[in-house]
């Protein structure tokens, strides 16, 4: 057998594909995407007394990679912890992701959250769709609303209309309603009925509350079939939109 016969059709196609994949990279030689990135920022989860506060956190690098691939945001691939009882830790991050602030019952934690928001911080609350983590979505929302009305009396909770910029500021969402994920893929009309709620201080948005289970979406990328194909990407797109919207509002 001659030497060249070891170069199989498969390897030939691989070489061609590699060349094709390389072409755009060479074409934009010296003009990398990274050039357009701003100063680096970290992605952090709010640590609360809730036993599941870090649920799906190990999948957050999937989200941060998505951020880096799809936007020019200079976001750190590491996920960080911001303890509600440590104000200086909270204030290292302009946006915090949380499984829910209703579990913060200590005075220090509550006043820290209020102070963080008053300084200009933004909190994105999204409930995990697992019934072991969030047994009742209505009750979950009530807890969040009660928390804000108590610790941040100047804030108002308002439902976000379908025309809101969070549905189109970076990615045009196909259906101007928040995408929901469901435990084991079983549809829940009661959960679906909830849209997104904005935490408003005057005209500025200080946070968003939802029960959509986006984190479950981007964490389940290895289990296709449970969620419709593309759910993970749509979940991450929605978070990207909210993140960018938060950046563009006055603090």
């Amino acid at each position: 057998m001659s030497h060249h016969t070891h170069f199989s059709r498969r390897r030939f196609l691989q070489a061609m594909l590699a060349g094709a994949a390389l072409a755009p990279g060479l074409a934009v030689f010296g003009a990398g995407f990274n050039r357009l990135r701003g100063d680096r920022v970290g992605w952090a989860r709010l640590k609360t007394p809730h036993p599941w506060w870090r649920r799906h956190a190990t999948a957050d690098p999937i989200l941060t990679r998505f951020f880096r691939d799809e936007t020019t945001l200079n976001i750190d691939p590491i996920w960080y912890v911001a303890d509600a009882d440590n104000l200086s830790e909270l204030c290292r991050y302009p946006l915090l992701f949380s499984q829910g602030v209703g579990a913060i019952v200590g005075e220090t934690g509550r006043s820290n959250i209020a102070e963080y928001i008053r300084r200009g911080g933004f909190i994105l609350v999204d409930a995990c769709h697992d019934s072991g983590v969030t047994p009742d979505f209505d009750e979950f929302l009530r807890q969040q609303f009660a928390f804000y009305s108590m610790v941040l009396p100047e804030a108002k909770i308002v439902p976000l209309p379908p025309t809101h910029d969070v549905y189109r500021c970076h990615f045009e969402m196909p259906n101007p309603r928040p995408l929901h994920t469901y435990m084991a893929g079983i549809y829940d009309a009661k959960k679906e009925a909830h849209g997104l709620y904005g935490v408003m201080i005057g005209s500025r948005m200080a946070g968003i509350i939802g029960v959509c289970g986006w984190q479950c979406g981007w964490d389940h990328v290895e289990y296709p079939g449970v969620q419709p194909a593309g759910t993970d990407v749509l979940c991450m797109r929605m978070v990207v939109n909210i993140y960018i919207y938060a950046m563009m509002q006055g603090a």
């Binding site: 060349g19 990135r37 701003g38 100063d39 963080y116 950046m247 563009m248």
Partner: protein, 741 residues
């Protein structure tokens, strides 16, 4: 005229061309030998035709690779102006000063004519033809020297530089000018001198001198101050003085604010006609009317500025990279309703937000007039290739016209891209370039930060802990007190803190460094400078959002910092009430005109030296851009007169000026000929001062100046890379087809 040539770039640029060529040719030959050898040994049955095709394809790829290695550059050479003709142009100054006789009856024109007649025979030998022109207020052709000297009446002004400029444009071999060297217009001698040197045409002056006793004049032409200024800020008031003096001297000028002397200086006037400008920085103080009175000699002119508590400021914010600074800057500005923010995000960021107002712009305008409705333009984390040359030029024109630009970037890689751009020329700092050691250290640190971002196994489960040290601003050592220093209060909380900063090589001379880093060798963090009528500033840190998050929510230090910073860069609005004397020299029984810049008709009053008041009739002379009211009167006596304009609000501006028996003009002041100025200008162009025939020499050939080169790399285009890949892919397909793979 330009022509194109090629040169090696990159690492071959510094090699001698033969050595670089030898290397490239050697590599090329070696590559060709390898390619031929490779396909000669190729297994399989290849027809000669197929072999030639494959060799050709591979050779093309190798040659293109060598082309990239050679890094050829297209060099555009701009040649110096073409060789002049062999025509001599003789200019004869026919202004009144050249024709005024002294006590012996001799005129400067006659004296210069005599000198030139001695040199003229030599000139006729050197030049194929001689053209004659006469000039005063304008220039006209003459058939001969006698025609130029004798035809027509003397002119009332000397447009010397304009006549020379017009003559040089015709590109003669040399110019001879019979003059006393006194340009009585506002033309700039230094500017013309630079133009004449660039032309490379020798100018010979034949000085006209006589024995007239010299006179002098002084005119406080104009004073300017903004109509409204914010309390506790600084603004600039300017006086423009026209003076004609027989010899170099200093002219004392004073500024009195609300009846108190606050500044004085001595302006240097050269022999001849001078237009002198004196800009003075004034502290606005507390709200109220501020009367600014400039005094020079026996003249006085005042204007009024209103100091106000607040005013609306339109801010245009342009962002080049996604970052959190905008949220916090916007919050800081929106806490004061007098700030109105319009944001533009670079289209590459792919962010679309519903505009809060109809004033939204899709991109940064390429025309400065579209920027004029904003007082400040903030460029936040912008990259050089995001701004077109026209956008950059628009920003430069905008600032030159009185706007303010604040450039913010913490990223050395971004700022180095602006090195040498029009934008950097406007900014108060010179950015470090890629090869600066200081910048290299920062980039190394940034690189390490980015590669250290990988998460360890423990962090993946437990989460990381971000450690960011905020560093405080520091005031530069020995910085003089100014209201700009109020950006930073004395307590540490109010000192801005930043996480990262870009390196600058230096602040420019004349720039005001407002903040530096506090540790080690201080980096310039914040600097500003006047540019034209506006301000340009550079903040080389992030947008300080981490500082905002680190402060208690009841602290307003961040808001105060941003608002004060923008206010310190904002242009002054309009012009304050002032009176301008339109008639240069006031004489008895001759109408003297004045104008005032109020919206509604002011009351004009003339006050005689004896104190008699006389109300003047006012007429509207407003244009689309500027309100203006004109009034006039004829003084009935000599002495110091005063004219006051009072607006509807009761504010009053005035001018005081002397009235003589006859009007005085620079032409008739008997100023001595500016022999030194003529000699300097002549010698700078390769000419000479012709005082006798021997002074006139054959002009030397213009020394060949090297052409200006503009290199532009040619290889790093996407097209070339696509061609290379295409050739390579074609070769792979061909190899596959001919069973070599």
């Amino acid at each position: 005229m330009t022509h194109i040539e090629w040169q090696f770039g990159g690492w071959l640029h510094d090699w001698p061309t033969p050595a670089a060529t030898t290397l490239i040719v050697t590599l090329g030959v070696a590559g060709m030998i390898y390619v031929v050898w490779f396909y000669r040994r190729a297994p399989g049955e290849l027809t000669p035709r197929a072999r030639r095709w494959l060799v050709g394809l591979r050779a093309a790829v190798v040659l293109l690779l060598l082309l990239c290695l050679a890094n050829p550059e297209r060099v555009e050479k701009t040649e110096p102006p073409k060789k002049p003709s062999h025509t001599l142009t003789v200019l004869v100054d026919r202004s009144a000063s050249m024709s005024t006789p002294d006590h012996r009856g001799g005129t400067r024109l006659a004296a210069a004519g005599r000198r030139w007649k001695q040199a003229e025979p030599a000139a006729k030998q050197y030049f194929s033809s001689i053209n004659y022109r006469r000039f005063a207020n304008d220039m006209q052709s003459a058939s001969s020297l006698d025609d130029a000297v004798n035809t027509g009446a003397p002119g009332s002004e000397t447009h010397l530089f304009a006549a020379l400029r017009q003559t040089l444009a015709e590109n003669p071999a040399a110019v001879v000018c019979l003059t006393d060297g006194l340009d009585t217009t506002v033309d700039d001698a230094a500017k013309f001198s630079a133009e004449a040197v660039a032309r490379g045409v020798p100018i010979y002056f034949v000085p006209g001198e006589n024995h007239l006793l010299p006179g002098a004049s002084l005119e406080l032409r104009e004073v300017k101050a903004p109509a409204r200024v914010l309390r506790q800020t600084q603004f600039t008031a300017t006086a423009v003085i026209e003076t004609v003096v027989a010899q170099d001297q200093e002219q004392p000028v004073e500024l009195w604010v609300n009846g108190k002397k606050t500044a004085s200086t001595r302006l240097t006037a050269r022999a001849g006609h001078n237009t002198l400008s004196w800009p003075v920085t004034v502290d606005s103080g507390e709200p109220g009317a501020l009367t600014l009175e400039f005094r020079a000699g026996d003249q006085l002119a005042s204007c009024v500025a209103d100091v106000v508590e607040s005013k609306t400021m339109e801010v245009l914010y342009y962002q080049g990279a996604l970052q959190w600074g905008y949220r916090f800057l916007r919050g800081a500005l929106e806490s004061d309703p007098s700030f109105r923010l319009t944001a533009i995000l670079n289209p590459a960021l792919q962010v679309q937000l519903t505009a809060a107002n109809n004033a939204a712009l899709a991109d940064l305008p390429e025309d400065a007039t579209e920027l004029r409705r904003f007082q400040i333009v903030v460029l936040a984390h912008v990259f050089a290739d995001q701004l077109t040359p026209r956008q950059q030029q628009a920003l430069v024109d905008y600032v030159r016209g009185g706007g303010g630009v604040l450039f913010i970037s913490p990223d050395s890689q971004a700022t180095e891209g602006f090195s040498g751009t029009a934008l950097e020329q406007m900014l108060p700092v010179v950015f470090a370039t890629r090869n600066d050691p200081a910048n290299a250290a920062v980039q190394q640190m940034q690189f390490q930060l980015s590669v250290n971002a990988a998460q360890s196994g423990d962090e993946m489960l437990a989460g990381g802990s971000q450690a960011i040290t905020l560093k405080p601003f520091a005031r530069p050592a020995g910085a003089p007190h100014s209201p700009a220093n109020n950006l930073f209060a004395t307590n540490s909380e109010a000192l801005p803190q930043f996480a990262a900063n870009a390196k600058v090589r230096a602040a420019k001379p004349g720039a005001e460094t407002l903040a530096v880093s506090g540790e080690g060798a201080p980096d310039v963090l914040l600097a500003r400078q006047r540019f034209g009528n506006g301000f340009a500033a550079a903040l080389t840190t992030d947008l300080l959002w981490r500082w905002k998050l680190s402060l208690p929510s009841n602290s307003h230090a961040v808001e105060k910092f941003w608002q004060q910073l923008l206010l310190s860069l904002a242009p002054a609005s309009g012009e304050g009430l002032c009176v301008v004397k339109l008639t240069p020299s006031a004489a008895m029984n001759t109408p003297v005109l004045f104008s005032a810049n109020t919206e509604n008709a002011p009351v004009f009053e003339a006050v005689s030296p004896g104190g008699t008041r006389q109300r003047m009739t006012v007429s509207d002379a407003s244009t689309a851009d500027h309100p203006a009211w004109v009034a006039g009167f004829a003084p009935t006596t000599t002495g110091r007169w005063e004219v006051c304009a009072t607006d509807a609000a009761g504010r009053q501006a005035r001018v005081a000026f002397p009235v003589g028996q006859k009007p005085v003009s620079a032409e008739l002041l008997n100023l001595p000929a500016d022999v030194a100025g003529m000699k300097q200008l002549a010698e700078s162009t390769g000419g000479a001062l012709v005082q006798d025939a021997a002074d006139f020499q054959m002009p030397m050939e213009t020394k060949a100046r090297p052409p200006m080169k503009t290199p532009e790399p040619l290889w790093n285009s996407g097209g070339l890379l696509v061609v290379m890949l295409g050739l390579y892919a074609t070769e792979l397909i061909a190899r596959r087809r001919w069973k070599l793979l």
